[in-house]
């Protein structure tokens, strides 16, 4: 039984963790959420439909992240800078060979992550799940409990909002 659970945990751990990481902009909190979500999977594994396991895990992850974000907001205004933590900064570093292009590309990604943290829900979740994680519209709809057509609308609005924020950030771009 544990082996089957471990297989599932191994299969979904990256998806759960990276979704939490982008929602929370915090490595440590993403680890806590991943642990909590996988433990919840362990407890409720009998009641979860195998075909919908992926969207169930992402829905539980999103709820856990938003519980944490609410707690973070109520605890202190001195939270993390929006967008990313120190390690994420290393992860988004561009691999461009030319130093100037590399610096520009890394800066673009860093500003993009900050903008992503600011676009609000449900756009943020839809953009992460579709563009970063590459999930099909149907699965995103199941995760968020909305029709596919609404997923597409949220996706386009979310990316448009990102474009507007990126322009505000660098008006002469």
């Amino acid at each position: 039984m544990l082996t089957a659970f471990e297989d599932t945990a191994q299969r979904y751990r990256r998806r759960v963790y990276s979704f939490a990481r982008y929602l929370l902009s915090s490595r440590e909190e993403a680890e806590d959420v991943t642990q909590e979500v996988l433990l919840r999977l362990w407890r409720h594994r009998q009641g979860v439909d195998e075909e919908r396991l992926g969207s169930w895990l992402l829905r539980v992850t999103r709820n856990a992240c938003y519980d944490l974000l609410r707690k973070r907001r109520s605890e202190s205004a001195a939270g993390l800078a929006p967008g990313f933590d120190d390690e994420a900064e290393e992860e988004v570093a561009s691999a461009e060979p030319d130093p100037q292009s590399r610096a520009e590309a890394t800066d673009f990604r860093r500003r993009l992550l900050v903008a992503l943290a600011e676009i609000g829900e449900p756009y943020k979740s839809v953009v992460i799940l579709r563009e970063v994680q590459g999930l099909p519209h149907r699965e995103i709809g199941e995760t968020l409990g909305i029709p596919e057509v609404t997923v597409r609308v949220h996706l386009h609005r979310g990316r448009k909002r990102l474009r507007e924020l990126m322009k505000e950030d660098v008006p002469h771009e």
Binding site: L2, F5, E6, A9, Q10, R13, R14, R15, V16, Y17, S18, R21, Y22, R27, E28, A30, E31, D32, T34, Q35, L38, L39, W42, E75, S76, A78, A81, E87, A88, E91, V92, F108, R109, L112, L113, L116, V127, E131, V132, Q133, G134, R152, L155, H156, R157, R159, K160, L162, R163, M166, K167, E173
Partner: protein, 183 residues
Amino acid sequence: MNRPHDALPCEEALDLLEPYLDADLPPGEMDRVRRHLEACSACAAELSLAARIQRELRALPQPDCPPEVIERVRRAGRGEVVPFPARERAPRWRIAAAAALVALAVGGGALGVHIQHVRQQQEQVAQATREARLALAYFGKVTRKAGLDVRDEVLEKRLVVPVARSVSRSLGTADDAEPRKEL
């Protein structure tokens, strides 16, 4: 300006750039946006930005979960009690550091009154002083990380040195050792 009857105004074209990129518009709308973009360099530049944003989002890393998290879940699955790892977050450290400051100031002064004739307590006070210095050094580190403008030299000049001097005077010993700045 004369425009064909089905020409798009910029405002409407800008609303349709993302669905246009995804080819998520009816064929007629796709044509209208394309014609507008061919004639409007400002909107074409917006399309380039929209395309780059999508490209960069798709290139973002998907970090993997550290193995120790899975190990904790595995142990919990076997019935072991596995607590979440204890982590010191910035606000708690600020509180702890502030408490250490108060303890140092109050404790150092109070100890000074009693300690002159109690030789065996000197080592305890010296130890308390060292621990308080460590707390102060950490306080400096945490406040820097939290973006608060409290520099090491300010902490040292305003807090560490005066308090250490006060404790040393109370003990009747000179203690000129430099405080540690980093842990």
